[in-house]
Symmetry: C2
Subunit: 148 residues, 2 copies
């Protein structure tokens, strides 16, 4: 079964990469700057990650959070490694990736669009899907890259 | 403001500790074996964690997941670092901790109680709170400890 996390991301969506990780902007920008952070190697469980991959991740966390603060004045961040969807298939074929959601205590305007984190201080909302125009998505990625 | 993650946990709830982390059984056992994993040091952001703390965490992930597989035949695991609640206060006083939820593709019976992961393959459910009798909680912790 094809693994979507092994695919080379669309260069337009790629925010950043390190030796072991790739950062892709999520189509849903309900939380401005939301990204997926996927291990480049096909590995299905955090327990199977190498030390070097963990330390590379630690550096990436620092860099990405810093860039979101500089770019959009993000307040804090939610990191989750779930892997649930992979277990809807038999056999499951999980691939380690993180959901990274910057969270905001205040409204943010970017390129004429207003972003508001209505659940700030609480669990992230689900079932939202705010897709945004291609040029603004490029603007978001460009802004993050400037601050990485 | 007092930090609950800095408090010494009730010894009855402590599952395990390493040099940098403590593992406490969550009161809600909707997902059998659910734990909180808190950094011993008061540190408010993953970006401020030391390399040694990350590597200690990596070892702990391996150990804890292994113990949950041996103890309860857990299928896979959800790890989240959110810290949202701390931002309901002004100023916020976050303290890095992880929510660890073992997930199950099958029903599990433990000490006469039935545990069923009805959302398996999907995002963890919220708003559930399955508190269990003290003796069974001790039994769960005992079983995990045997397998660590």
């Amino acid at each position: 079964m094809e693994c979507i996390n092994c695919q080379v991301p669309n260069p337009d969506d790629l925010v950043y990469e390190t030796k072991h990780w790739k950062v892709v902007l999520a189509p849903d920008q309900s939380y401005l700057g939301r990204c997926y952070v996927a291990l480049k190697r096909h590995c299905g469980d955090l327990a199977e990650m190498e030390k070097e991959e963990w330390l590379d991740f630690a550096e990436l966390v620092k860099k990405l959070e810093g860039a979101m603060k500089k770019s959009f004045d993000a307040t804090m961040f939610n990191w989750t490694c779930l892997l649930n969807d992979a277990y809807q298939n038999n056999p499951p074929n999980p691939h380690v990736h993180w959901h990274f959601r910057p969270r905001y205590s205040h409204k943010v305007e970017f390129a004429g669009l207003l972003f508001e984190d209505k659940d700030f201080g609480h669990h992230y909302g689900r079932g939202m899907a705010r897709e945004i125009p291609k040029d603004i998505k490029e603007g978001i990625i460009g802004r993050i890259r400037e601050n990485l």
